[in-house]
Symmetry: C2
């Protein structure tokens, strides 16, 4: 599978804050209605700086995800595209983990909210 | 060196949100004047949910650290104690990385703000 880096596919919304040997840290910012194109995430911890209401889609499925500001959630490695279906901008920090992903087959779409 | 887990040494302020095979995610919350006792952090990414003004001390040194809300910083593995020297509560998320730390000798005290 080709890995589509969101920093490359959606540079108006994803940017690299910094990286080192263990992590790459991204800032994500959009406005209501923003749609991203399909991209790949490695295993990631996402921290919401704002409320977060998105519809995520993969080739096989779609899911709505709603989170309050100040949450820290696990985003297992996955390919998706997203749309901001909320009424406010979305601002999140994504801590991408380098090294081997935990899940190599298809994980559930979106963050793990169990 | 004995590892003093902040969740054990300072349970009124540090709590585990969740963990998996790659990370353990902590919530830290205090009020102005709160002092923690010495504890150890593994390699960690810290995200500030509030402004952050602290004095950190180790056996050898002390440093003041000031951060705005919404920052994501690298905290290399280290032992320290802290005091909230600001005027507001401190609320942060700490993403502790499992596995071998990058720095095994003494890193600079506090987060890496380069």
């Amino acid at each position: 599978m080709t890995r589509d880096d969101p920093v490359t596919t959606n540079p108006d919304h994803y940017r690299v804050l910094w990286e080192n040997e263990r992590v790459r840290v991204l800032d994500y910012l959009d406005v209501p209605g923003t749609e991203t194109t399909p991209h790949d995430h490695p295993d990631t911890v996402m921290v919401t700086l704002t409320d977060f209401r998105r519809h995520l889609v993969s080739d096989e499925a779609g899911v709505d995800v709603e989170l309050k500001a100040g949450r820290a959630v696990w985003l297992p490695a996955q390919r998706h595209a997203g749309i901001n279906i909320g009424d406010t901008p979305t601002h999140t920090i994504l801590i991408e983990l380098k090294g081997e992903n935990l899940t190599t087959d298809s994980p559930a779409l979106g963050p793990d909210l169990r």
